[in-house]
């Protein structure tokens, strides 16, 4: 892998928008492994990711980023580990209108090392919807576990919103690198 190429992983629960986020920014049509969703009780949508999503984006400064999306359901946990292997960083997407959004945040942040193994950026969707949790609630939840991670409100259909998450993650990587160099 060249120094200017990064692998980052989009994760989060079913319906959080991982496939949509990768589709919003990928330079090429993303690889999708969507299949018929038979668990409409968990999330009412026709299709769900069973394998992975894959896309790629070239940024202005010569940096190339490979984008991988995980399935969201716990039964696919083994794919989180496979896709997380050798990742430079992780973007956790959470749907603020889901009842168990804070528990989901804990589960996904924890599964990817709580920010200790690799940098994590959190994107919160649908936070403006009636009854949804505020961004502060997510930041406070992380703080209560002793974590300070960047938390943004995003609409994963909007390219700029998703790019903000990717750019932030790349900044954290750069800071980590310079930290290691000066240590």
């Amino acid at each position: 892998m060249s120094e200017t190429e990064f692998k980052i992983v989009f994760t989060g629960p079913m319906g959080a928008g991982k496939t949509t986020a990768i589709g919003a920014i990928s330079d090429e049509p993303p690889v999708s492994t969507d299949v018929t969703n038979t668990d409409r009780a968990a999330f009412d949508k026709a299709q769900t990711t069973a394998g992975l999503d894959y896309g790629r984006i070239a940024l202005d400064d010569g940096v190339s980023v490979r984008l991988y999306g995980t399935p969201g359901q716990l039964r696919f946990r083994f794919m989180w580990d496979i896709l997380g292997h050798n990742a430079a960083g992780v973007i956790v997407l959470i749907d603020a209108s889901q009842r168990d959004a804070l528990v989901q945040l804990d589960a996904f942040v924890d599964a990817f090392g709580g920010g200790k193994r690799m940098p994590i950026v959190v994107g919160i969707g649908r936070s403006g919807e009636p009854g949804a949790l505020s961004l502060d609630a997510f930041a406070q939840r992380l703080e209560s576990h002793g974590m300070t991670l960047p938390v943004f409100g995003v609409d994963v259909r909007r390219r700029d919103d998703v790019l903000l998450l990717v750019d932030t993650l790349l900044c954290l990587l750069e800071l980590g690198d310079s930290g290691r160099r000066s240590a």
């Binding site: 492994t33 299949v35 018929t36 038979t38 668990d39 769900t48 069973a50 039964r75 696919f76």
Partner: protein, 134 residues
Amino acid sequence: MTTSQRFGRVATGVAQKHLDAFAQTTPGVVSAVLLSADGFEVASLQVGKGGAARLAAMGSSLSAIGSAIAKEAGIVECNRMIIESDSGTIVIMTIAEARPPMSLAVIASDASMLGQLLWAAKNCCNAIARAFRE
């Protein structure tokens, strides 16, 4: 929601019978799981509790990735995947005609013969597809 509620009590019962018959008549079959495309166990054979659920999820991921690679390569659809090792074989066969779409994952020992295994598994898939079309 239980498996039979999700996929239909009669159809899952029929599928289980087909799996049993498949294992009894095909040399080397160690275990098998009928799984939905989104990774739920529909019926299983000789797999410990928890093992079937895990195999169902892994089988659906492999099946979905196989389909994506086939599409990328322009060969339209992945019908089956074969994983071979010195001590055994795993076959994942797509049952596209079933509603909802399903796959059959079979684990066989080195006592199996690949051609016979594939032929018998295909027959089993055809019978299962009929059960889930009706």
